[in-house]
Symmetry: C2
Amino acid sequence: MDDINIRYLAKELNLSISTVSKALKDSYEISIETKKRVVARAKELNYQPNPYASSLRRKKSNTVAVVVPEVADSFFSAALKGIEDIAQTKGYHVLIYLTYESYLQEKEILEKFQNGRVDGLLVSVSSETTNIEHIRALYNNIPIVFFDRAVEDMEAARVTTNDFESGFIATKHLIDCGCSNIVYLSISKHLAINNKRIAGFEKALSDNDMNFNDSNVINCSNDLTDNEKLISQLMKREDGPDAIIAGVEKLITPVYSVCNDLKINIPSQLKVVCFSNLSVAHILNPALTTVTQPAFEMGKIAAQLLFKKIEKKGSAIENESIVLPSALIIRESTNCGNSNKT
Amino acid sequence: MDDINIRYLAKELNLSISTVSKALKDSYEISIETKKRVVARAKELNYQPNPYASSLRRKKSNTVAVVVPEVADSFFSAALKGIEDIAQTKGYHVLIYLTYESYLQEKEILEKFQNGRVDGLLVSVSSETTNIEHIRALYNNIPIVFFDRAVEDMEAARVTTNDFESGFIATKHLIDCGCSNIVYLSISKHLAINNKRIAGFEKALSDNDMNFNDSNVINCSNDLTDNEKLISQLMKREDGPDAIIAGVEKLITPVYSVCNDLKINIPSQLKVVCFSNLSVAHILNPALTTVTQPAFEMGKIAAQLLFKKIEKKGSAIENESIVLPSALIIRESTNCGNSNKT
């Protein structure tokens, strides 16, 4: 009783479902007369071969969805490639949904998955997401794996990087270069990864007897012009920073642009580190020191975790939490004249 | 006769479809006894409320698909944002499918749309696509709009840029700077946009009494390492070029990297122009001269054309072909010491 569409048509025609199915597929096993009769009645009944019928029967869409904040960020585009690599070997298609950092958009997208449109879900939450009911609501229906931007207080598999350590190491590197007034540019107070990076930043400061207070963290937005204004104000301050850690890739353009405009030399007057997977980091002016995540690997591993869940659906699978290390890649933007390559 | 799933259930129960529908939605209009009976029989029959049933009934999924070669390219990520902007105002969701420049992947993806999974399709074809039967097969079922990478010999609406003129203007600029040995780096012999850009390149050369032959165009691949090798060989040749036009954004990293390695100064020894929407073009070392497409606008207009088609489905709509101009943005990488800003 799993496909009453075609069943109804078969009943109407007094034929077996298999015969109707074969007739609709123009099988050589079925006589031309029967085919004509089936097609005519299907037309009369406005029978639509449901593209999802077979998927629903198998409870499989052979599709996984990836929900990410954006793709104009080299981390996400590389992670998507990793996900696609695994999905292809499994014969699955990947649907990509972009939230553009909007909680409402994310909520709307996830609500569409309630009735089994996809077999599994890979999520990197938006920077606005604090309420996670829309994710919880899916948790018992669809296998979910978080990657990069995970929700802390929810039990689900996840692949992340060592954000605390990365924040710590980046800060330590700047301190070793002689920086004493380091500012962290953030884009969200809500994201766990961001807060961990800031915690690592704070720890490195306090380990080196340096103060940490609210003015050490500047909250930027998703708007380039607003960020340029904010960074310009920051750099014009008398107590302006001697180093910046940019928490996301998109902040590097306004930092460099403002320094160009204000004739602030990087690295002699300002040292800059950015969390980024930019493939052009080494050809920027100056070449940019980055904390680089293993984006492609993270995508691959997240997809592998997801397929493990999809394939073993029903049986309890441990919610693995895999943490991959990021790498500090030191380039000209933090050149401090010594050879300390932390 | 447009929803025989629930119709069958209603028939079985000897109830109206509307009653069954309301009962399943737990409506206050239906008695508890009836609800219980409906739910019990639905369970017995393994009746699955089909998430697509209502969509199919309305012949609407409220979803449009975008099929693009990749997102690790700032043109496509910006165009997607334009598409999303329009889709949101229309209350539609955008599904993104990536072909990774593979014809087979593109074909497989498009075959999934045969039965109405989406209401419309925005396509930028892969660099491998020569056979277009998979696109033609959809043409009568689903509104299709091409953007950027259109198929020439197919009647369908499209939004493109003035590729011939852009190729011409970029070349003319390099000739004005005194370049006499210009090489165009291509990634596909099949893409119409690429061939138009090369035709513009050729025209500018011949207008200036310069030869054009096969050695003026180098076919690169999608592999970074291969491209680096190819460009390195090119630059080591005795008759190596004094200018490069990179036909796609991803070629800029290997060009700059090879020049760094070989200590070739840009722009004094080699001038470089790239077709690119890179937001960091102005902070590269040196700042990169680009032919920049109105990516966001193109996405918006392509989506507007698509919704026009979706909303007027059935009535004949002219297949509009909209051509937007790209801009040559002159920066340090083609600095020729004169003020000729073409």
